[in-house]
Amino acid sequence: MLRVEDLWVEVGGQQVLHEVNFHIPVGQTHILFGKNGSGKTSLLLTLIGYRDYRVVQGRIIFKGREITHLPIHERVRLGMGVSFQRPPTVRGLLTRQMVEICNRSGRDYLPLAERLNFVPFLDRELNVGFSGGEMKRSELLQLLVQQPDFVMLDEPESGVDIENMKLIGKITGELLERHLNRTRRRSGLIITHTGYILDYTNADLGYVMLDGTIVCTGNPFQIFATINEKGFEECAQCTI
């Protein structure tokens, strides 16, 4: 699904990523761990094609096609989707209108909005005055409607209370088709801080990012346990 080869990225002349290599096969979900400022979000924004994230070396291959320099919307039309950690507010644009923008297949999204307890927010301006949890549910609804083949989630659980966490976790798991086995077509990359999302996604592989590069690859549950026990620095030293 996605292959990243020797990726080096700068923002405003400052290096934010270097020597990043990984591969997410079809049907797999991988988890990206790392402390604040390690480059996790930079990687995600580079993958989706944000202009300020300039690829200076390396390649991004998506579904067998090089997309390193494609504009954002073309990557999205190829099947990438992203839930942002802190999406911007867009005044005057109703959340419903944004959901409709995502809805290229013209499906009935109301049942999805109902499941996310999100119907009352559809007629509010996008992200204006939304709480952390409301933002995450808005982002998730957009992804559910968009139905991308490759789903990127940037801290889907941050700012969410326990009750909503369960809801978001469950629906995220479904979006990533974790309930299916052999027939799973969708892939994912999830950034998590708290690890709560692990309980719902049964991810295949985990990475630890430190100072702009991946320093550890392995079983995500084991990595998470090590981080909890010894911290990120220690984690970077070991090889599981």
């Binding site: 919307h73 992203v82 911007p88 005057g92 644009l93 290229r104």
Partner: protein, 407 residues
Amino acid sequence: MYHLSPEQEARARQALEKESVYGAPVDFAAYVHDRQAPAGEDFDRLVRQEEETLTKAGFAVDERQRAASFLQVNHAVSRCRRQVEGVEVLPTREALAKYDGLPDYWWQAVPVDGDKYTAKVALEFDNGYFIRARSGVKASLPVQTCMFMEHQQVMQNVHNLIIVEEGAELEIISGCATASTTAAGLHLGVSEIYVGKNARLTFTMIHNWGEEVVTRPRSAAWVEAGGVFISNYICLKKVQSLQMYPTARLRGPGATVRFNSIVAAPAGASLDMGSRVILAHPGCKAEVISRAVSFGGEIIARGHLVGEDPGVKAHLECHGLMLSDRGLIHAIPELEGRVAGVEMSHEAAVGKIAQEEVEYLMARGLDEEEATSTIVRGFLNVEIAGLPAGLRRDLDELLAKSNAGGL
């Protein structure tokens, strides 16, 4: 001159050379003003040829869902049709003849010698509309009007009177447009608006001019105790030069006014516009909200609140969006407190479109151009409080159709 008192006429003559404080001077000699010329006011022909232009100016040619219609082409009345009791619509000239010159209203809110434009309208008056909602009448459908200019370089001098008597409620959708074949012209429009005690008027003006039209509207409103005046102004198409500074005077306790403006200036357009409110009694309230987008054109967005009583509240909000490295948005909010205890505030912001918003929308599959125009439409889609649902839908459609100034 039957429609002017000798004193008014003398004042107008003296003001014929008086330039406006704002806006570039206009040379009247560049325009043709001939009240004898055929105006082509046949309504059916207009509807046939200009339906789209009229529709974009808010004029529903089928006249359904409208309490009354008034349409003027150049100097001639093309349509004046009333469908609802209690709401009177007449050409101004007829109303003046019928009601002895309407001395309580005629040139009362707008001074005849305000500048050379008011003077010109006074001395070379074509016609206009007179709309009156009788005391206590609550019209459920809006009245629509349109000032239409056809023929190159034509000058149109209009004087309108709107009277909403005590306790009455009225909506007016007032469009201005030029024929699809006409690019240039000069429109001078005086509008005097009288909102009686506990009356309510929603007045929505939509400009859909030709690209080289010059216009100098001169409007003023008097709002009596407990009255509510809501003015919406929309101009999304290129107009060469517009200057206006309507003034609302709140003349009794609890009078309320709200001015909403939504404007876009493509390259080559120059808009100098603002709203002024004088709050002179306890409990008076005013809100002036403007949204301005420059695609390379110039916009001066003014606003002026004058608080003359301790118990008044007023807010001015001016937001501008620059979408080009050329052009200009100059927000000039003014607050003038004349006694202790006034509560007045303003908020002004001029900025560019946020890249993170564009990229956010692109991450949902829109290309850059689609993302930008979606954000611009959102920016202009100000929640106009008090706007009736039908009008809201009309505006949304207009905004969607206009493609926000050509993006």
